[in-house]
Symmetry: C2
Subunit: 194 residues, 2 copies
């Protein structure tokens, strides 16, 4: 799966300029690409070469000219073919989990600091996602089905963020419990050691 499909997806909803697509990607977390110009503009040029999109130049008075891209019949066929392709599993890169995996040389205090930072990051993300959901970024709503799907995807993302936060809190307090137990038995030994 590459960004080409997602761009075709957006254009199957309605025409956009590269600049608009860039923002759509940058503002969305489900569509996880960064929205860098290189990729968007490059991709649009290529799709145009392949005949999947048409581009119309619109001159404007006070702003630079813009190229509005629209999907073609052939583009819709390409999109359809991809939509029917074999689903793939989600790809998850849990950077923090890997960091934790090798945290043995760190002290309990240092590990606790990592948790604090991670939980703050997640908490922030939860708030921002909730706010974004409340504001409601632009999305198609061409049918009840489509709206239902988009709603569930949004809810699912929030839920998974929240459950990751709960996971981190639980592990953190389990580690604190462990420390307390060990401290009672060995009088503060086991800090920083292997």
């Amino acid at each position: 799966m590459s960004i080409r499909h997602a761009i075709l997806g957006f254009l199957s909803w309605k025409p956009f300029t590269g600049y608009e697509l860039k923002k759509l990607f940058a503002d969305s977390s489900s569509f996880y690409w960064s929205g860098n110009s290189n990729q968007i503009y490059g991709c649009l040029i290529q799709l145009h070469k392949e005949g999947a999109v048409t581009s119309e130049i619109q001159l404007q008075e006070r702003y630079p000219a813009r190229k509005v891209y629209a999907i073609t019949e052939s583009g819709r066929e390409k999109l359809r073919a991809w939509l029917l392709a074999q689903p793939e599993l989600p790809e998850i890169k849990d950077h923090f989990h890997i960091q934790l995996s090798w945290s043995e040389p760190l002290s309990q205090t240092e590990v606790d600091g990592l948790f604090a930072a991670y939980e703050a990051l997640l908490g922030n993300q939860v708030l921002m996602s909730r706010e974004a959901a409340r504001r409601g970024n632009p999305k198609p709503g061409r049918s009840a089905r489509e709206s239902l799907i988009w709603k569930h995807i949004e809810d699912g993302r929030l839920a998974s963020l929240e459950s990751e936060l709960a996971w981190a809190r639980k592990l953190r307090s389990a580690l604190a419990e462990l420390k307390k137990g060990a401290g009672a038995l060995t009088e503060g030994a086991g800090e920083g050691g292997r």
Copy 2:
């Protein structure tokens, strides 16, 4: 975060050959890299140049010679610096969610087929993860803390797979309900969309 840190992590546990590391990555889903030779061997050569690891050639009778890599003090410092770096959010690429986002041109039957395939894929993954957890792949257990962390990470992965499966099932049946409702009112219209 790149694979260099994860390799240093493994070597901070105990010495390994490139071939062994390759398998460790290939067999693990938490350490999400594919475990291709190019990256592993290339990375080890580079780490050796930087003085983060030493390599000892072990000749064997019936098998090719192997290079056993061990971490150096400087390597441990590099690892420690990375361990204390600012945590990062998980990166999630929900390929299937994006596919679903643009599924408007598909029929209800086609969408349902996608769900069936996705649920089968996830179900499989859940079984394989459970089996892998039962078998228990090689992992360090240098302290109660380390074991607790690894256990929670494993459990967390399973839980998130299971909740994704539950999410898919819920959305699928919500879509079926929607279809039923619409069918009752409009007598089978609304199939195939715009």
